[in-house]
Symmetry: C2
Subunit: 318 residues, 2 copies
């Protein structure tokens, strides 16, 4: 059997003929002329090298080889029909997978969107990569993920960004700290305190350093800690103060207090970053669309800042 020139069309014709029982009937169903169908059948039988149909009392009956061939056709055609269904699910973004990379701190906010999204599209498999800014930048450079979440994005020359949430950075101290009750405090009044810092290279650290420089001050005692969690614990046990995302202050957590330092908060934003020329999986686009449409539902209005529409729009036009 020479399979090379077998077209799926040919299989469809064959299946129709077997179902219809006559060539003419099949031709009518297929909106073809009878000779066309006859000829296709001949080609098919030539390709298979075996008669597939024989005429028994006026109707075309498949031969033994033809019956089995019919089954094979049904299976193959069915398989590609299934694939077609799969494709449309994929295209609709209801299915498939995508990966998203977050810097550590985004863990506090992204689950609010990812959770409901996964509920709505249970067939979509999301890989979430979490790491520090350095690691995420490396992934970004290697284009290992479909969507990145940064607060302070790298160069946007080949990438697009869309803000989706405010991320004000505030100075945090232990609950009982005197400045917490003040109306307003100058940073210079706090330089005697020890400051707890994330490692150089972290976004918060970068922002803090440049803000301090702007204010024309520099810190005294500092202590470097590896995670925001460690810093939180450190603050509440009186180890010092720190600049933190306001999201880190869980409403229920009474052991920390925001200090009303002049010139703060530093406004920054969580944003989705996507490579401009990278093909975005449908599922990833579906997530962005979901974020765009449902941000209001899952994020308190005080944090809202929805620019995701632009991004969706950009990729929708592809």
């Amino acid at each position: 059997m020479n399979i090379r020139h077998l077209t799926f069309r040919l299989l469809q014709v064959y299946v129709t003929v077997v179902k219809a029982g006559t060539v003419s009937q099949a031709a009518r169903r297929l909106h073809l002329t009878q000779p066309t169908v006859s000829q296709q059948l001949r080609r098919l039988q030539d390709a298979v090298g075996e008669p597939l149909l024989e005429s028994r009392h006026g109707r075309l009956q498949p031969t033994e080889a033809g019956r089995e061939f019919y089954r094979a056709c049904q299976d193959a055609l069915g398989r590609f029909d299934d694939y077609d269904d799969y494709l449309s699910a994929l295209r609709g973004g209801e299915r498939g997978r995508f990966s998203i990379a977050l810097v550590n701190t985004a863990q506090y906010v992204l689950p609010r969107l990812l959770g409901p999204f996964s509920q709505t599209f249970p067939q979509v498999e999301v890989s979430v990569h979490i790491g520090n800014r350095q690691q995420m930048l490396a992934r970004f450079e290697r284009q290992e993920d479909d969507i990145y979440v940064f607060s302070h994005p790298p160069s946007l020359e080949h990438a697009l960004a869309a803000r989706f949430m405010r991320n004000p950075l505030v100075l945090v101290g232990p609950a009982g700290h005197p400045a917490a009750k003040a109306e307003r405090v100058a940073i210079s009044d706090l330089l005697g305190e020890r400051f707890l810092l994330r490692e150089v290279g972290s976004a918060t650290r970068m922002m803090f350093d440049s803000w301090l420089q702007e204010q024309g001050v520099s810190l005294g005692a500092t202590m470097q800690l590896a995670s925001n969690e460690a810093i939180r614990v450190g603050i509440s046990s009186g180890l010092g103060l720190a600049l933190l995302s306001e999201h880190v202050l869980a409403p229920s957590d009474r052991s920390l207090a925001k200090l009303p330092v002049e010139g703060l908060p530093i406004e920054s934003y969580w944003q989705f970053i996507v490579w401009r020329d990278r093909r975005l999986p449908h599922a990833a686009l579906a997530f962005l669309r979901f974020a765009d449409e449902h941000l209001e539902t899952w994020v308190e209005s005080q944090w809202l800042r929805n620019e995701v529409g632009r991004l969706v729009h950009y990729f929708d036009l592809d």
Copy 2:
């Protein structure tokens, strides 16, 4: 997805590319040039309407849609590979089905061949139709079966025949009959006896009638019985004499005796009859081939008469 112009060849190319990981590699394996493969891939992706491959660190990786498409290809190609295996089994006659129609009396001889054949080709499904000559002739006219077994075939204008076994017709009487011990008897000396006959239209009856006419004699008392079995019982219980196939005299059956009538036995032969222009299923051909080759093994040499080779040869050349 537009399936119409998808060729299996195209699927093979795609599968090879995915396995090879690069277009060039695949091209080499397929003995094609690289641009050819590139172009096929493009056509394929156009047909599917979705990118199937993307280049990740130097190798081509299937996309989500591509991975699933790959599976669909494997399934479809595998399905037709299986069909190919099936086909060759069919062609080899190791598998499939055929039908054979026998006149009643052939039941005594055909199982000797069919039994061993079925043992050798357990995958072949044989339908055996048994009836009287009239019924079998009707089936023959309507071409309902692949092979017919007649002792006295109908017109052979559009059919081919091959003798495979002697079928001498002898006069049979009860064991104690005086003529059984004689050296030779003339039929005229037996006309006082009652004769047991099959119905008009049965082959044996036809042969007997024309033989009697040749001898210029006619029977006195007769009795018509519907089956050879009934006739056997009738003879042994002294109801009369009958012309029967010598095969009917089981060696162990001591209640019947062959009467050495002059001018007998009438030589006749079991033969396979096949429509000349009917496509013979491979399995049917395999049976004839089997009969041709193994007749000596399963049939005592005294009955042998093998002309089946001619038939096999005729259809082999198709």
